[in-house]
Amino acid sequence: MIVPLDEAVRELVHDGDTVALEGFTHLIPVAAGHEIIRQGLRGLTLVRMTPDIVYDQLIGAGCASKLVFSWGGNPGVGSLHRFRDAVTSSWPVPLEIEEHSHAGMANRYVAGASGLPFAILRGYSGTDLVDNNPNIKSVTCPFSGQELAAVPALNPDVTIVHAQRADRDGNVQLWGITGIQKEAVLAAERTLVTVEEVVDALDPVPGQVILPSRVVNRVSVVPGGAAPSYAHGYYERDNEAYRAWDAVGRDREAFAAWLEELIAAPEPAGRGL
């Protein structure tokens, strides 16, 4: 259950998979994303509500052939330049996009976690998203006759999230802004959770989400695995790193140098028990 990160990624993620690495500003599974880059995975459909710099890195490294998302940016800083380059210049490989709103993506995960084929919401009305995404349709309420938006369930092959801690049986505990992580895990075929630490007992924390070990395939201990995002109660968001990424991401050569350094790092992060 609790294994090194490279082993967990090798076991669970394969070329061509649909992979969601979720986290809403907080607890972003950055180290796991870097391990995907190191292993040279290709043709992935990457899914995330808020792809930020780790998705920029995965896209720039050529791991993805498609991105399903609702907001792709460097929060508080600006655009993702590797993502832009892939969309506007197909560099390093073409990137197909499927674009939603946050409400649409959130409800797609809810449907996926609920074993339903699709979700309904009041959304997308009048927007050009509808005409550019065949996965946004409308449905008539059989009771009231109201027209509502319909979007298909999202069921990733693999969901990866980062959490504060797990116990030795692989039960996982996270708190603070917990975003869409519970739904993304419950919607997935296979799941990997990286954690700050493993503890003997998960003492209750206000606002916690518990992911029982029966919905978690692998846990890997990766202290600092969400940096430069943050882990509530462990470390703060490194805003300077987000600002600094802008210059690296803007330039293909600077990015190539960054990538070379990542791949050359002697040991993958993360350990088992």
Binding site: W71, H102, L121, S125, G126, T127, D128, L129, E147
Partner: protein, 251 residues
């Protein structure tokens, strides 16, 4: 009263803050909208109930967050809920008075673009995309847009409708069954635009002190109509400026 000089960004922020009333619930976008909402809460609207789309409800941050999900938002919130809950139970259910949004591009009917400049399939510039904005624009009781004025940003028709404003005019929101009133004011560094009650086309209804209506028309990409009783924004007070500067680090 005002005794110190102020900038066009500062009067934009102060004007947007003044549009909020105490105890309103406000769905806050990051950037300029977040600055303005936090100024309101520290001046005339201490009971402003701020929601950020990361699920932080009733948050009272002691400094401006850089991102929509900074730790300070969670630490100071009444409660932190999941993303489906914030969109479904709070926004979609009609519990929010005002949406505070920014935009890359806006048009004469206040439709908002944050997706692409140019053609969608072959864009000149790829922007971050929708985020929570389409449903914020649809479901809040009303919407305020805060953005800097330029003829590149204020266009006749947006390249992409990310968030629906007033479509192509009167009756469009009703036809789509949208429950909120949509954008009721656009606050810029030059003045204030509001939809005409009949046509829903944006009209210049106010200018900031020292700004001529012609200068606003020049910075607008359509033939902007000017209200007969054009208002002039009251200058920021020293108290307002001091709050703005304490948040932004300006001087």
């Amino acid at each position: 009263m005002t005794t110190v000089p102020w900038t066009s960004d500062e009067i934009m922020t102060v004007t947007a803050a003044r549009s909020l009333r105490d105890r309103m619930s406000c769905f806050v976008g990051i950037g300029l909208p977040s600055t303005a909402a936090n100024v309101a809460r520290r001046t005339h609207a201490p009971g402003l109930w701020m929601i950020y789309e990361s699920g932080t409800l009733g948050t009272v941050p002691d400094h401006l967050p850089l991102s929509i999900g900074d730790g300070i938002l969670a630490e100071t919130a009444d409660t932190v809920v999941s993303v489906p809950e914030v969109f479904n139970y709070w926004l979609q259910a009609g519990r929010i008075d005002v949406g505070f949004l920014g935009a890359a591009q806006i048009d004469r009917y206040a439709n908002i673009n944050t997706t692409v400049i140019g053609d969608y399939t072959n864009p000149k510039v790829r922007l971050p995309g929708a985020g929570g904005a389409p449903e914020i624009a649809a479901s809040c009781r009303e919407v305020t847009v805060i953005m800097r004025h330029s003829s590149r940003a204020f266009v006749d028709r947006v390249d992409f409708v990310t968030s629906f404003g007033h479509g192509s005019g009167s009756g469009d929101r009703e036809r789509l069954g949208l429950r909120g009133a949509g954008p009721m004011r656009v606050i810029t560094d030059l003045g204030v635009l509001e939809p005409d009650p009949l046509t829903r086309e944006l009209v210049l209804t106010g200018v900031h002190p020292g700004v001529e209506a012609d200068a606003v028309r020049e910075a607008t990409g359509w033939d902007l109509a000017v209200a007969e009783d054009l208002a002039v924004t009251p200058e920021p007070t020293d108290a307002e400026l001091s709050v703005v500067r304490s948040l932004t680090g300006g001087s």
